[in-house]
Amino acid sequence: MKVSDLLKIDCLKLITKDVCLDKEISDLYTCDLLSWVMGHVHEENVVLLTVLNSMNAVALATLLDMSAIIFCEDVMPSDDIIKKANEENVPLFTSSKSSYKSAKEILKYESLL
């Protein structure tokens, strides 16, 4: 499954522009504590689902070679965060659903592929 496939999932909305959506998705990880993610995500191309509205989520995604970040439950990152993500080529999505329900939707979609 690729990041571009996330565009086909109803509850998700892409909020970055001109970022590469061609990356593979190896896994989904939901967490709101930065250092916890740092210590526990051991592979690249993971998609982070979080409600953590922070510039540091983008830094984390860059350092860990994540494929995308999904801000759940309508958490809307600031323009600065979106700008940084555009610069660093990290796709950002928002989701109208919780982390758990968003992940469920993604898995449901993946099972159809």
């Binding site: 930065l34 250092s35 916890w36 740092m38 210590g39 922070s54 830094a59 860059t62 350092l63 600065d80």
Partner: protein, 138 residues
């Protein structure tokens, strides 16, 4: 030997992680193995964040030693770590309520640094803390 110095400002959350991503880009340019880059990224990010959220500010020395080792020194000007033993424990954190709202304070900073580095040295007094991370690049 190749050496770079970067300033780190207290509570500058907007730029926190900037130096770590600089270091990462240098390693990518040098063609270092991905798994090693990942370890450097984890250790450098945790150390940088600690200086930003816990200290009055400081700086970071990035040293590429001739023997192929990367040495990262994080030097701040206080207020120091009360108990290094506690700081090394998973889950232990002195992060403020505001830091926690920003996603910090998991109490994984030093444990992550220790796991990711080949050698970690920490000295601390009320006048400042020096964290030195050693990672072999080959």
């Amino acid at each position: 030997m190749e050496k770079y110095e970067y300033k780190i400002f207290s509570m500058d959350l907007e730029n926190a992680g900037y130096i770590s991503s600089k270091i990462k880009k240098m390693l990518v340019a040098k063609g270092i193995d991905k798994s090693i880059i990942r370890r450097v990224a984890i250790a450098s990010y945790e150390a940088e964040i600690n200086v930003v959220i816990h200290s009055y500010g400081g700086y970071c020395n990035v040293v590429f030693e001739d023997n192929g080792e990367l040495k990262l020194e994080y030097i701040d000007c206080g207020p120091g770590i009360e108990s290094i033993d506690n700081a090394m424990k998973e889950g232990w954190s002195t992060a403020s309520k505001q830091d926690r709202e920003n996603g910090f304070g998991a109490g994984m900073g030093f444990p992550n640094m220790k796991k990711a580095s080949d050698k970690l040295e920490v000295t601390s007094s009320p006048n400042g803390t020096i964290v030195t991370i050693h990672i072999a690049l080959r």
